[in-house]
């Protein structure tokens, strides 16, 4: 039921939306493409905002997915600084903040996620920042420099990457985390311990198990974080990195099913055959684990963009990918493949003291997930083994004298 002339309207000009426009053209779609984005710049990559870009090792131009000219040259009507305000699925139209109404044959929600706010007194002071967009990142960068003090609320990946980048710029970094360990929602305790120690050895300080009472300032500028136990942490800026919330409000209002994100099937399609959704905003099936999940990662955004574009262009279906993610902190490269669902054992291969090791999550003799630090073979081979469900021997996996290729043989 693909229609090469269909008019595709994509809401959200982020990593998923921008990539989908490119895949559609690459796959030969001939119909008009309209890409609506509320940010002022063409689609760009967010990962470097807390890493290479923040440290000054990558320039803004290198973040863009495509040069601006690409959109015009490829018949893609890129509408920047424009917000979609309503969707009417009955007559297949979208209302924009400009007052216009656009019709569509196929609609794609690629609205991503927004930074979760901390609802405490002082959250609106100058210097209380978040990190989701390039504009946020500009503000954070301006607040960092030698001896500036950054308080980071939330010990997730974004917070830890920002802490590492702040240290690289000579700033002080203090991570304030509500849970008893960092990365509590996304990594196993062994990995949390490793990252805590690695950061501490490089001057990052941690307060774990603390609740934030509020932010206090002078002349409208934040000066300290007040903890619920009464203590204060002096600072020049605060980064609030406590997770993201899917931008599924429009979809919900249009009557589409949302469960922590827009519910889609393996084709990235919603229950309405004319409406797709891709990227951080989706609640999607993960067949390898027989579950529905919401993922926040570039590989996920790319996979769904490619799948949806392929369906629209009438291409053969793709094999579902193993979810994966990476993070750079100091000289560490963390690569994660799979999800530790239903795992009954954790196996560490290599010695964390050498900063080169991998943690495998096993269900019986199958690998469910691998968290690899400076260990590409463990990541690459682990990812394959997760995907093809091949059983492995725990003893051989734990033995670093047996190469990963031999483990998989």
């Amino acid at each position: 039921m693909s229609d090469p002339k269909a008019k595709v309207v994509i809401l959200g000009a982020g990593h998923a939306g921008g990539s989908m426009a490119a895949f559609l053209r690459q796959f030969g779609h001939e119909g008009p493409i309209v890409l609506i984005g509320d940010e002022p710049i063409p689609p760009y990559q967010r990962p470097p905002l807390s890493k290479a870009w923040l440290k000054g090792e990558a320039d803004a131009a290198s973040l863009a997915l495509k040069d601006r000219a690409w959109y015009a040259d490829n018949g893609c009507d890129l509408r920047l600084g424009v917000t979609a305000t309503a969707v009417n699925r009955g007559d297949r139209t979208v209302t924009l903040s400009t007052g216009e109404t656009l019709s569509y044959d196929i609609l794609v929600f690629a609205t991503g996620a927004r930074a979760r706010k901390l609802p405490v007194p002082g959250a609106d002071l100058n210097g209380v920042l978040e990190l989701r967009t390039a504009a946020d990142a500009e503000q954070l960068k301006a607040a960092l420099g030698p001896d500036r003090r950054l308080a980071i609320v939330g010990g997730g990946y974004v917070g830890l990457e920002a802490a590492a980048s702040a240290r690289a710029l000579g700033a002080h970094a203090m991570v304030l985390e509500r849970e008893s360990r960092i990365l509590a929602r996304v990594a196993c305790p062994q990995l949390s311990d490793f990252f805590t120690a690695y950061h501490q050895a490089r001057g990052v300080r941690f307060e774990l198990g603390v609740e934030i009472a509020g932010f206090e300032g002078e002349d409208g500028q934040v000066r300290r974080v007040r903890l619920a136990d009464g203590r204060a942490v002096d600072c020049d800026a605060v980064l609030v990195g406590i997770g993201a919330i899917p931008n599924d409000d429009l979809a919900r209002a249009s009557g589409l099913e949302c469960v922590n994100g827009i519910v889609v099937d393996l084709d990235a399609r919603t229950a309405d055959p004319a409406v797709f959704s891709i990227g951080d905003v989706t609640h999607r099936p993960l067949p390898l684990y027989d579950r529905m999940v919401r993922l926040e990662s570039v590989p996920n955004a790319l996979e769904q963009a490619k799948v949806a574009a392929g369906v629209i262009a009438g291409r053969p279906p793709l094999t579902p990918e193993v979810p994966w993610f990476w993070s750079d902190q100091f000289d560490l490269k963390l690569q994660i493949a799979g999800m530790p669902f239903d795992a009954d054992a954790i196996l560490v291969r290599g010695d964390p003291a050498t900063a080169k090791f991998a943690i495998f999550h096993l269900k019986g003799d199958q690998i469910q997930a691998v968290e690899a630090v400076n260990s590409p073979p463990e990541f690459m081979m682990g990812k394959q083994l997760i995907g093809n469900r091949k059983p492995v021997s725990r003893e051989r996996l734990a033995d670093t004298t047996v190469s990963m290729k031999e483990v998989a043989a």
Binding site: A22, R25, Q26, Q45, P47, P48, K51, S62, A64, L65, K66, D67, W70, N74, V298, P299, L302, E321, W326, D328, K333, Q335, N374, P376, P377, M380, M381, Q384
Partner: protein
């Protein structure tokens, strides 16, 4: 600026001008050359920017880091002239560079 020719597995050739300082991967992505996926955007984390460097340029593309070497080792159809194109910085010396692309990056 360097002229770089990307040759797809099908034989289709794309010759584009790439600014020095960009990577060979970025040169392909910005110019919409198909066949290089670059899922991680150049972080040396995905190995989906695999290319084969033409023999005439093998000495000019710089040394592989241990990380690149290790990632490449697990890509498909690796040859001695295989590189991750996000790890090759474009210099004036690379003007005329020819890279061939594998059948698939996944």
């Amino acid at each position: 600026m360097a002229k770089i020719t990307y040759i797809e597995h099908s034989g289709a050739e794309h010759t584009v001008d790439v600014k020095t300082g960009l990577s060979v991967m970025e040169g392909a992505i910005k110019n919409n050359v198909p066949g290089i996926d670059a899922d991680c955007g150049g972080a040396c984390a995905c190995a989906t920017c695999h290319v084969y460097v033409d023999a005439a340029f093998e000495g000019k593309t710089g040394e592989k880091s241990a990380m690149e070497e290790s990632m490449l080792d697990f890509a498909e159809n690796v040859e001695p002239n295989s590189r991750l194109s996000c790890q090759i910085k474009v210099t004036d010396e690379l003007d005329g560079l020819i890279v061939r692309l594998p059948e698939s990056q996944h």
